[in-house]
């Protein structure tokens, strides 16, 4: 076993554990914190896969901005916990079963079918450097990039419209 694999399996265990923690925590705040941990480990995976720019964006945008937003809303609403409900008790076992089936199918597809994507050639030193990413973004992907900016603007306007209280209630 090489150091690479040890690192991978260790981090993978953390990521899965964090995901399960997010899934099973009764308290929503804990869930959010577990998710941050998960995102952080995924960011490390990005680094391992030679994507430093994406890893930084993951940490900054996901683990940072988005999760803070989550925490903020949880606190705001005071909705850390929910009363247990008797409704749709039958759905849980079916969901677990289907998830297991999906997992089996996925693993079968990844390892049972097709070639094992094991041989990974070493890449050039400037692969996925911020300069390369930036150059690509502003040349070939310029239009989607600009559209994304409009999307963000629209989302901003939409949020304001949704949150704003109707004037009649004032």
């Amino acid at each position: 076993m090489t150091a690479d694999l040890i690192l991978f399996f260790g981090l993978a265990a953390v990521a899965i554990g964090a995901a399960l923690g997010m899934l099973l925590s009764k308290n929503a705040v804990y869930s959010a914190l577990f998710l941050i941990l998960n995102f952080a480990t995924v960011a490390v995976f990005f680094l391992l896969l030679g994507a430093p720019f994406i890893a930084m964006a993951q940490v900054a945008v996901y683990a940072g901005a988005i999760m803070v937003l989550f925490l903020f809303v949880i606190m705001l609403l005071g909705a850390e916990q929910l009363l247990t409900s008797h409704k749709s008790g039958w759905q849980r076992p079916i969901a677990i079963l289907l998830t297991l089936v999906l997992l089996v199918e996925s693993i079968y597809l990844i390892f049972g079918r097709g070639r094992l994507l094991s041989q990974v050639a070493p890449v050039a030193s400037d692969y996925a450097s911020p300069e390369a990413i930036g150059e690509l973004l502003f040349s070939r992907y310029l239009l989607p990039f600009e559209v994304t900016s409009i999307l963000l603007l629209v989302a901003m306007v939409g949020v304001i419209v949704l949150i704003k209280k109707p004037k009649a209630n004032n």
């Binding site: 749709s88 759905q91 969901a95 289907l98 089936v101 079968y108 597809l109």
Partner: protein, 691 residues
């Protein structure tokens, strides 16, 4: 310089004239509308003369294509005018005699419309007359059998319209349907003939792929002769219908119901000769079918003799002439049947002159008596009294005439010329043309010669009888005593026609052969050979004619008929004369043979088949009841049971299915997500296992 391009005007001038009379005829008045009609017809004559002059310089046939008409696949029939010596001969006769009759009719109809009590009909008469000229011109100038047929039907229509001109009257002037019945009789008899011509045309088109004369004649010799025989025999049926030959001649005597100018123009001079023209035109076809030629000749000869016998026994001045016309048409048909096309056409021309003269002369006689019977002076209107049937004064009955030569001398003189020409005495026109036919017949077919000679003898006899009865002896009625001579507008055309009847023989004078050479350009030397003058034949027929006239004089001239006395011939011939008077009972025979069975059959069809079987049984019992039963069946079990059940069942089923499916719509987003997830998993499984 030639005028061939003007030829369409022979049709369009009369059409123009009739349109003018239709549109503004009433405003033009009698003088105006008759002048318009005269100018239209006269214009056609002038154009025909121009064609003649052009053709004298260039005698080969000219075809003037006027318009496209039918253009369907192999059927190509343009509206083309054919100008050749044959058609121009007909054009000259039609428009020349037609124009003279127009002049005559302008005077005659002035009185006729007043005696019939309908002065407004004056314009209508000239409209029909111009229409007839146009149709006849189409007939003689057509370049194909179909164009000829258009004219053929057109003149048939005009004949129908003009026979039935006084359609609400009887021939004696009383109210009734006899005139229109005569018109219908003529029309139906002509339809029988037209069917034959149509069949001939169908056969021609099927076999030769064209209806145009030149093409048909060029291809005819390559066709099986038995087909040609069939075509020519079918054509003979058409000829028998139009030219009043046995057995379809019965319509022509009844056609005398029309005004006298009509009888002269249509039923003597022009239309009825269309059959002769057709045979002459189809000479190349007939020459390929000797059996058909013989049939035509025999039919013509039999008709000539048969009609001549009937003419002997008639008392009506116009009926005598009508049967005489049938007889003379028989001469022409026999001639063209024998292959003597020139002789036939020659007789056609001269006959047009003297028979038109005789008819117009008889019209003058009739009018003279009519005016004496109830005088009207000038345009002064008189209240018209409608005569009662059977008691009417009949100005056409020769038994009330007599001694007219003193009171109407002009009419007498021209009538005498016409009668002698018809009787065939030299040097009048009829002698030469009839003699040529007889000479040709002697060479070709002795039987036909014998029949025609007998007919010629009878012709001289009945004409002698007629002239003696009408103009000689003592007046047998008050009207005959005070008969009034016709005005100059009527007598001048008579004088012109009398001149033509005297000089007409020059057209094809023996030794000169003007007409023969003229027609040779069209018929070819083969069909237009010159007939040498035969002194034996000429002497025989002349002596026979003189004998017949002497016979007539012994019977009617030496001892003039007294008023209300029986016909002297009746004593001599006994029951035979009754048979002649009753026209050999042919009409009765046709009635017994065709009309009565037909009426019985019609009654059977109407009463038994239509009413009892079809209406009562099939409609009421079968269809109505069956339909009602079917409707009840369809309404109750089918509609209420099956169809409603189906529709309601579908609705109920859909509602049940919907309510059971609506359970799935829980409103819980997570349930929906589960379903989507299930779908994803299933699809993945499907892709794994089946691809």
């Amino acid at each position: 310089m030639n005028y061939f391009d003007l030829v369409p005007w022979i049709v369009f001038l009369p059409v123009l004239g009739l349109l003018l009379n239709i549109l503004i005829g009433k405003r033009l008045g009698e003088r105006g509308s008759s002048l318009v009609a005269f100018l239209a017809s006269g214009g056609a004559f002038v154009v025909s003369v121009l064609q003649w002059l052009s053709l004298s310089a260039h005698p080969e046939a000219h075809i003037v294509k006027f318009a496209e008409w039918i253009n369907i696949g192999a059927l190509q029939v343009p509206w083309a005018f054919r100008v050749d010596t044959l058609s121009v001969t007909m054009m000259l006769v039609v428009s020349g005699v037609g124009t003279l009759i127009h002049i005559y009719a302008a005077g005659y109809m002035h009185y006729d419309v007043r005696y019939k009590g309908d002065p407004a009909a004056y314009q209508r008469f000239f409209i029909y007359l111009n229409l007839f000229i146009a149709a006849m011109m189409i007939l003689v100038s057509g370049d194909s059998y179909l164009m000829l047929f258009v004219g053929w039907e057109g003149v048939g229509l005009c004949s129908f319209l003009l026979i039935g001109f006084w359609f609400n009257k009887n021939p004696d002037g009383s109210s009734g349907m006899e005139n229109s019945n005569a018109a219908k009789k003529a029309f139906i008899a002509n339809r029988v003939g037209d069917l034959g011509l149509l069949l001939a045309m169908f056969a021609i088109f099927t076999l030769m792929g064209s209806l145009s004369f030149d093409t048909v004649f060029a291809r005819a010799e390559f066709i099986n002769p038995s087909y040609i025989l069939a075509i020519t025999l079918f054509m003979l049926i058409g000829v028998a219908g139009k030219s009043a030959q046995l057995p379809l001649y019965v319509w022509l005597p009844d056609a005398m119901a029309g005004p006298t100018p009509v009888s002269a123009l249509i039923h003597a001079a022009t239309m009825v000769t269309a059959g002769v023209y057709l045979v002459a035109r189809s000479a190349p076809l007939y020459s390929l079918a000797p059996a058909a030629q013989t049939t035509v000749a025999v039919v013509g000869a039999l008709t000539a003799l048969f009609a001549a016998t009937i003419a002997v026994g008639q008392n009506d001045i116009k009926k005598v002439l009508a049967y005489s016309t049938i007889s003379q048409l028989g001469f022409m048909v026999a001639a063209v049947g024998l292959g003597a096309f020139v002789a036939g056409m020659f007789h056609l021309v001269t006959h047009a002159f003297f028979k038109a003269l005789l008819f117009l002369g008889s019209g003058s006689v009739i009018l003279a008596l009519e005016r004496a019977h109830h005088p009207i002076d000038g345009d002064h209107e008189q209240h018209h009294e409608e005569p009662k049937k059977g008691h009417a004064f009949d100005p056409q009955d020769m038994r009330i005439m007599g001694g007219l030569r003193k009171v109407i001398p002009t009419t007498y003189r021209v009538y005498l010329i016409g009668a002698l020409a018809l009787a065939g005495l030299p040097p009048l026109a009829g002698f030469f043309s009839k003699d040529e036919i007889l000479t040709d017949a002697l060479h070709a077919n002795p039987l036909v010669y014998a029949l025609l000679t007998a007919a010629a003898f009878l012709t001289a006899f009945y004409m002698g009888r007629q002239v003696l009865l009408v103009f000689f002896g003592e007046p047998r009625s008050h009207a005959a005593e005070e008969a009034v001579e016709s005005p100059p507008i009527m007598t001048w055309p008579l004088i012109v026609l009398a001149g033509l009847s005297i000089l007409g023989g020059l057209i094809n004078f023996p030794g000169l052969h003007g007409l023969t050479n003229w027609l040779e350009h069209t018929l070819g030397h083969e069909f237009a050979h010159a007939t040498e003058f035969n002194l034996t034949v000429a002497l025989t027929s002349t002596l026979l004619a003189l004998l017949a006239i002497y016979l007539a004089w012994t019977l009617y001239g030496r001892e003039p008929l007294k008023a209300k006395a029986a016909d002297p011939l009746a004593k001599r011939l006994g029951s035979l004369f009754t048979a002649l008077q009753n026209k050999w009972w042919v009409d009765e025979f046709y009635g017994w043979l065709i009309i009565r069975p037909y009426q019985r059959f019609a009654a059977f069809l109407a009463d038994v088949v239509d009413w009892r079987f079809w209406h009562d049984w099939v409609h009421d019992s079968l269809i109505a009841r069956g339909f009602r039963g079917l409707a009840v069946f369809l309404a109750n079990p089918v509609d209420l049971g099956v169809i409603d059940g189906l529709a309601n069942g579908l609705a109920t089923g859909a509602r049940g299915l919907a309510s059971s499916l609506s359970i799935l719509q829980t409103g819980y987003v997570r349930n929906y997500a589960l379903m989507v997830f299930f779908g994803v998993v299933s699809m993945l499984a499907y892709l794994i296992f089946f691809s």
